[in-house]
Each structure stands twice: as C-alpha cells, then as structure tokens.
C-alpha cells in the first residue's frame, strides 16, 4: 500500500514538472516571438556587446537553414543563467580539440584561445564526442557549450521536456580503475591482440622419448650431438635452409650452391661422411656417460657409421668407396691455357638409405653419392651447382631389389602408373599354358610408358621415359629421327620403309602380345587379372600394308602408309570389389594408329642410308564408363515409379552435406504431434 501511494505521489510530481515546463516553454515562445528568434539565436561576439547590430548569416555549410543572429546582451529574453553555464558542470572544462595550450587550435571552435576574428578563418568546427540527452530540460543548459564560430544559444522548441525524472538513479558502467597486479593485466590480455610469443622447445636431446615416425634423427660429430638435416631451398633455388630429417619420413630436397670453390665444404663429400655417426636409437645413447668425447666413446652399435658408395647419376650402379679415396675431397684446378676453372668430385646427388627395425631404431646407413666435374670459363658467371638430397627409409629385412610397388590395391589410384605384362604361350607337351611375363626390375617393362620429349627429340630408354599416370590425359609431341641402311644390292623401298615403321612401333613400346592389368594389384600368376590390348589395326597388319618405292631418278624413296600418331584410349569404371567401394578398374586399353602419312625421303647413295625425320604425336585419353549404381531385384516385376529426388527435400537426406537433416525425423514427429493435437 505504502509503495503504491509513493508511486502515485511521484507520478503527480512528474506530471506537475512537465506541466510547469510546458507553461514556461509557452511563455518563452511568446517572448521570443517578438524578436523573431528562430531555433538558434546568436551573437557575433561578446566583445561587440555595445553595438546594436543585427546581422543575418546564411550558414549553409553547417545548417541548412537561415539563422538570425542577434547580439546576445541586447536580447533580454536570454536568461542570465546562460552566461554561467560554463561553470555549471565540470564537463565543460575540457575542449577535446584544444591540443595546444595558449594557442588557437585551427577548426576548434570551443578553444578559449580563439577570438571571433580567429574563428573566421575556420572552415568548419571539429565535432566533439559528446552526448546530450535531448529529452531533459537540462539539455538546454548543456547545449550552451559553444562549438561554432559564433556564440549562440538554443531555445528548446519541443512541446515538452522532462524537468525531473523519478526513475531510479543510474550510472554508466565503465572501466576506470587502474589494474593493480601484473597477473590481472595478463588476464586482461585474453582475446585481445598481442604479439605472439612462441617457446622454442624440443631442441634438446631426450633419450627417454619414444623413437617413432616423425621423431628427430641425431648424429654425432666432433663438435657434439646434432639433429640431422640436409640443405634445402626456400623461396629462391639457393641452399638457404637446413631441412630437419625425421625418422621414417622420406624426403627429397633440391637446391643450388652459388659458391664453386674448394672452400665451400658442402660441395665436398668429406663434409657428409667424415666423423659423422648416427645415433641408432636415442634410448641407448647415454649422453652423460660419453661426456665430451661423444664420438670416440660411443659404441659402434649405438653410433652407426655411414657406408659411402659412389654411383652413377641414376644410382643403379654403385661402387664402394674407401676412406682414403681422393674423391672425397673437391679439387679445383685453374687452367690458364683453357682460361677456365675445373672442379672435380663435386657432390651433385646424395642418397641416404636408412635401414631400420621399427622402434629398435636404425640398423644400417648407406650413402649413395654421385660426384660430377664442373668447369667454367673466366669472366663468365660462376655456374649454380644444383644438389639433390634423397633420404629413404627401408625395413632392415628388405632389400631394394625386391620392391614391387602396386598401383592400387585392388583398384587403381589416381596418378599411379598402369601395370602391363606380356602374354606368353608355354608349350608343355600338347598343352599350351598361358602365362604373363613381367620384368619387375625394369620400369618400362612393368608399367605403361611412352617416349619422353628430350630437347624436342623422342627418347625412350630404361631411364628416360614418360609414365602414363592413371586418370591424367596426355598429349605429347616429339621429333623422331631414324636412319636405316640398305645392305642389299638392289634398293628395296618397301623393306626400308617397313624397317622405319618397325622402329616407330619400337619407340612406342608396341608389342602385340601386351596385356594390361585390370586392377592396380594385377598378379602375374592370375591370367584373369589381365586384359589384351585392343587394336584398331594390328601392328603386323600395319607393317604388311606399308609400302615403299625407290625412285633412282631423284634418288628418293617414297614411303606410304606410315604412322604419324597414336591414340591410346583407356576405358575405366569404378566398381565395388567385395565390400570395398569405388575401385577403379580398367575395362579396356585400345590403340589406334594414324597410318595415313607418306614421306618422300632422300636416299644417300654414298652410304646407302635413308633418313626419316618426322614428328610423332601420342594422345592418351581416359574415359570414365561408370554408370549410376543400381540395385536390381531379381524377383517378379516391380513397378518403378519415382518422384523427383528432391520432392520431399527437407524430410529426406539428399547429399552428404546435409548433416542437419539428421534431426529431421524428430522434427517430423513433432509436426505430426502438432497436427494430431489440432
């Protein structure tokens, strides 16, 4: 009851104030009406108070209205309170744009240092970040803060204003208090910008940590214990950084050395093998026991030494290297006669082969090297020496020779080579046995390969080839050059042309008994895993149709029906094998030759030779024959009526992205309950 009465009283007071204010406002308007004061009445300057001049300014820059300016002290309607407003609130002690003491700040209209004459040079007044609540009658009081070139006041034009409000007192919550402790300041940094600080850990040797995939590899040299790393390029091709090597992570890095001299130790093999011993497994390495003489006191089974070998560029043939071999050091010779510098035994390629035994660590380390000779003439730029580093890990019980890599198990993986084999008939008495022959050690014999374009010419050897990768369409062009000799007395044009045709077929590695593996794991013991290559025209037929004519008059041979291009089409489909889904299977490999070319080739009489120089083109295309999988019911005919796939869109799951539909069953139940209750 009491509170109710209080409320009523408060309301009455409020109404009373509003009404009083209203009354006052009317009086004000009446008074002002006689002096034609609109919303803003202004005086030019307090200094001009004696002069009774009424000026009219059009201040369209700031206000889009006409302003009548009258001298402040001439107008009796302005209450005296106005002059004192600046003392009313301490807020007005500040003028936010007044940034120079005792000097008039430009475009700062509230600056006390600026006279009205000074203010005439201003272009505009800077806006201060101030807030006034225009609903209250006090607002009039606050607005007298002068922030224009003129001194002015506002007569509030609103019908009502709040003189006093009886709402509970409020205050603005803001951070003002200084932080007391350092911990408090650290807490405040959360979720705010600060420069990141990373702790650099994990650099010290920890013998108790597990030796697993991705653990660092350590080596010992005369300077102590280090993490194993190899040079690598970064941003530019220069050997800028050292790449850390991690246990069981194979890596290949390549970078250029710009300093070709004997002083550059990284070019010399000695740098990589001399006094370098690898820690087999950190667990066995007792850093405190070996102390300063790590290299000497470390037992041989813990600190493994490297077995270096000198190899050819492709690392196929290697020879052992003794410790006293002169080749472990780079030697540079200046030859004044040739005006050149020649360096021998420059490290070009290094291949680390780590044999390991799982968690038991490394067992053996091979370092295959390829050294080269580099020379350059005086006055020319020093050549950049490109270095390649390979790091490979193998299980210790497996040798590299026995490695057979599959292109997928069972389905082909995208980007993997296509398995090929050769069908052989083995006659065992009266029975003929079909078997697939596949020379695994030779890449070109076990996978589908085509000639490589090397400087424009077709090259196809056991080391230079282009592998067809599953799923990648390829078009290659290269120049084919071949010379055939006529060993007989009479020039047989057809025979010469057929020999040329044969050499074209040979460079494309065409073999009429070639088989292609249906799956990436095609096994030579299972003939069903293989399919015969389909030909538009068999290579033998093409050879038979090749004709040549010799024209002794102009000493040329005209070869007809020569091959100029080959289309290799691979048809594949994604099938389900057992419970494995979407396994790529090759359904067919077809070859079709374009044998429409005729060449008129010059016949050299001096050495009875015929030279063919033509461009060969090879196109490889992959065709995906996968159809939409459908489950067919074998039983009696069923009516197959289908609504569009998204007919009941929000109720059914359409694609995998629709995770939100997992809850839709629940939604459906709710919907039915709602409808049922209705």
């Amino acid at each position: 009851m009491e509170s109710n009465i209080k409320k009523k009283i408060a309301l009455t007071i409020f109404i009373y104030f509003v009404v009083t204010c209203f009354g006052k406002e009317i009086i004000k308007i009446e008074e002002l009406a006689s002096t034609e004061v609109t919303s803003i009445s202004t005086t030019t300057d307090a200094n001009f108070k004696g002069e009774n001049v009424t000026e009219e300014y059009t201040t369209s820059e700031f206000y889009n209205e006409k302003t009548t300016i009258i001298p402040l002290y001439n107008n009796e309607t302005v209450p005296n309170k106005v002059a004192n407003t600046k003392q009313v609130s301490p807020d007005f002690d500040f003028c936010a744009c007044d940034l120079q003491l005792n000097i008039c700040d430009l475009n700062c209209c509230c600056d006390q240092d600026c006279s009205s004459q000074d203010k005439e040079v201003f272009e505009q007044c800077e806006v201060e970040p101030r807030y006034y609540d225009a609903r209250y009658c006090d607002y009039v009081k606050y607005i007298y803060i002068n922030n224009t070139r003129f001194e002015w006041e506002i007569n509030q034009n609103g019908l009502f204003c709040v003189v006093k409000s009886n709402t509970p007192p409020s205050f603005i919550l803001q951070r003002k208090h200084p932080l007391k402790t350092f911990e408090e300041s650290e807490y405040e940094k959360n979720n705010k910008f600060s420069w990141p600080q990373y702790t650099q850990g994990g650099d010290s040797f920890n013998s108790s940590s597990k030796f697993i995939y991705g653990s660092p590899i350590w080596y010992v040299d005369q300077k102590g214990l280090h993490k194993f790393d190899v040079p690598n390029s970064f941003i530019t091709n220069r050997c800028l950084i050292k790449e850390n090597i991690f246990y069981l992570k194979n890596i290949h890095t390549s970078c250029s050395q710009v300093d070709l001299s004997q002083e550059n130790s990284q070019l010399s093999l000695k740098y990589y093998i001399d006094n370098v011993r690898f820690v087999a497994v950190p667990k066995l390495f007792n850093i405190t026991k070996y102390k300063d003489k790590l290299l000497e006191s470390c037992p041989k089974n813990v600190c493994l030494s490297i077995t270096p070998k000198i190899c050819d560029e492709s690392f196929t043939h290697c020879a052992n290297l003794s410790k006293n071999d002169s080749r472990i050091n780079i030697r540079c010779n200046l030859s004044i006669k040739d005006k050149s510098t020649t360096c021998v035994s420059v490290v070009k390629k290094l291949k680390y082969i780590f044999y390991h035994n799982g968690t038991k660590g490394l067992t053996d380390i091979l370092l295959l090297t390829y050294l080269d000779e580099i020379s350059y003439e005086f006055g020319t730029d020093v050549p950049q020496i490109n270095q390649d580093f390979f790091v490979n890990f193998f299980w210790s019980n497996i040798t590299t020779k026995r490695l057979v890599s599959l292109s997928g198990n069972p389905g082909y993986l995208i980007g993997r080579p296509i398995a090929i084999g050769i069908l052989e008939n083995l006659k065992n008495g009266t029975d003929t046995l079909l078997s697939i022959k596949r020379n695994v050690s030779e890449y070109t014999d076990s996978f589908l390969t085509i000639p490589k374009n090397l400087n424009g010419y077709c090259i196809f050897t056991s080391s230079e080839y282009l592998s067809i990768e599953f799923g990648y369409n390829v078009l290659t062009r290269c120049q084919f050059q071949k010379t055939v000799y006529n060993h007989k007395k009479v020039v047989n044009g057809t025979e010469l042309c057929r020999t040329l045709q044969k050499s074209i077929l040979k460079i494309w590695n065409i073999h009429s008994n070639k088989m292609v593996g249906s799956f990436g794991n095609a096994d030579i013991k299972k003939p069903d895993d293989w399919q015969k290559i389909l030909y538009k025209k068999l290579p033998q037929t093409i050879l038979n149709t090749t004709l040549g004519e010799y024209y002794p008059k102009n000493n040329s041979v005209l070869c007809k029906s020569m091959i100029k291009s080959l289309n290799m089409d691979i048809f594949h489909s994604r099938v389900d094998v057992g419970s494995l889904i979407n396994q790529e299977k090759i359904l067919a490999l077809t070859l079709s030759f374009d044998d429409s070319a005729s060449y008129s080739l010059p016949f050299k009489k001096d050495d009875n030779s015929l030279l063919l120089n033509t461009e060969l083109e090879l196109r490889v295309s992959f065709y995906d024959l996968t159809v939409k999988k459908e489950r067919k019911v074998v039983d009696p005919p069923s009516l197959d009526i289908k609504l569009p796939y998204d007919f009941f869109y929000p109720f059914v799951r359409i694609n995998n992205s629709g995770n939100q539909f997992a809850y839709n069953f629940l939604n459906l139940i709710i919907l039915f309950i709602v409808l049922y209750l209705k």
Binding site: W195, E243, N244, P644
Partner: protein
Amino acid sequence: MVLINVYTRNIKIKYKSTPFSKATFLVLITELFTIIFSFIIGYNTGGFWLKQATFYEQPKVSLLGDYILMATTNNTSPVVCSTYPFFKKRLQQYNFCSVIKFREIDHEFDGKNDEVIVEISLNLYNFTLKSINLVLPIKYQLSDLCPLKMQSLIFYQYNFQQYDVVTELKINAHLQFFQSSPILCSIRFSEIYNFPVIENKPESKNYALENIMEKYLKRNFTTHLTNVYAVTKTENKQTFTLRLLLKYPEHHIYYNPGFWQILKTAWIQYIAIYILLAWLSRKIRKYIFNNRLVWYYEDSPINKKSNKHIYNLMSFI
C-alpha cells in the same frame, strides 16, 4: 419501428450419403485433388523447397599477430620476416624488417573491427625487390544467423616491374568472403575450419607459399582481398615500406536454411495455391449437389420431417 440486423447465424445443411456412393467418391476425389494438386503445382513451378538463403553480416575479424613477409630480390638472397619459430631458427639472417605496425580500428565501438592498418618497413641493403608476398593469419567469426568460427588468411602478392626501385607500396583493399558451398547453420559445423592454415611445425613445406596457397584454397570458406588498388613510390632511400589499409565490409553469405524455415516458405506457397484450388473444387461440388447430379440425403434443420425420415432410413441401413 425500424429493425436492424444485430446478429446473424448460418443454418448448416448436412448432405449425407453412404460410404460407398457416388457422392462420397466425388467429395473424396475433389478433396484429394485440391490437396495433392496444389503440392504438385507448387513443386513443378520451382522453388518450392527453399534450399539456399542469404544474409548480410559484418564479420568479426581480428589479426592473430603472426605474419609472414617473403620478398624476392635482384640477388639470390630473399627477404623473409616472420613470427614463426621456424623462420627465426632457419632464416633469421634474411630478416631485414625493422618495424611492423598493426592497428585494428573499430569505428563504432561495436566490438567488430572495421579497418586494419598494416605497416611493414624493411631495410634495403643495396638490393631491389622483385616481388613481395604477405601472409597474415586472421580469426574470422560470424555470429548473427549462422555461427562460424574460422582461422583464415589475408594473402597479398605484388610483383614489381623489372627496373623499378620501389621504396613504398601503398595498398587499399576490401576483405571479401568467398564460399564454395553454403554454410550449415549448426554448432557442430561452425568450427570445422577453426584451425590454423599455417602449421607451426619445423618442416619447410609448411611455410612454402605454394603449399600454403594450395592448402588454403582447398577450404570451402576463404577470405580474399578485393578492390585492390596499389600505388608505388620511388624515393632515394634504403628502406622499403609496405602500407596496407584493409576494410572489413559486410559480407554476403549464403547458407542452408533449417527445417522449419524450409517448411515455412513451402507452406506459404502451398496455402496460396490451395486456396485457389479449394475454391474451384467447392464450385464444382456446389454445382453437382445443387443440381442433384448425385444421390444423397439432406439433413436440414429447417425440414424436421425429412430429418426424421433420414434417421429412420439410416437405422434401416
């Protein structure tokens, strides 16, 4: 005395028939026709089920404080500045950056940054820059309609002209949000990209630009710079300054609407067609029943007699 209409009520006349009659069949068919046909019309005219909807929102973007600046020069040594430990350990000798300045500006104090100023100065020790790459990891957050929290990148590349000795590069740009699929509005989905693009690991492949780009563009949601305007300046000094002024505008985002939103839009369309068809089928029924084209009993409160007659008949049946 004048009489005025103060209240009206309808008299309900019931038309009755047996379950297996022409009249029942007719009513059933017309009802089903209106219900099903309005669905079919709604579906076949397209856009019945709302599959994507859009909204605009200014994201909350903030710099994580990390940066990578990689520049190639006219000699073989590059300029590399970064906060990541890998760079500090391996490439510190190529760090020629002298001052890095970040300023995030929130004009309205609404907790969302509106602009960012990035200023990087580096010393040129008698070399000229050929290209510059700047990578700044950011935190990107949407919270209005669909929550999304992700770590993204500000990626900027610039190649200088061959004989240019540029000492200042000023760039003005906007940050754009690019999505290759709609956002799914669920809490579970909101943090699928909330992990760093650049992994802080000691292998160089994590920091190679080509790998960062490849990994970043595999994401479905990425941020890019648009409206990029760059101005270069050449002065006779040995420092280079990059100044990037980036604005974060409102982003246009499309998302998969929720179940009830789909149903709501479908319902609006359905009911609009249903009203028309229902009116049509009512007309048909009215015509048929008024003209007594089918056989039925009329249960009218006006004619009590016939009423009784019907009850008798019904009990007979």
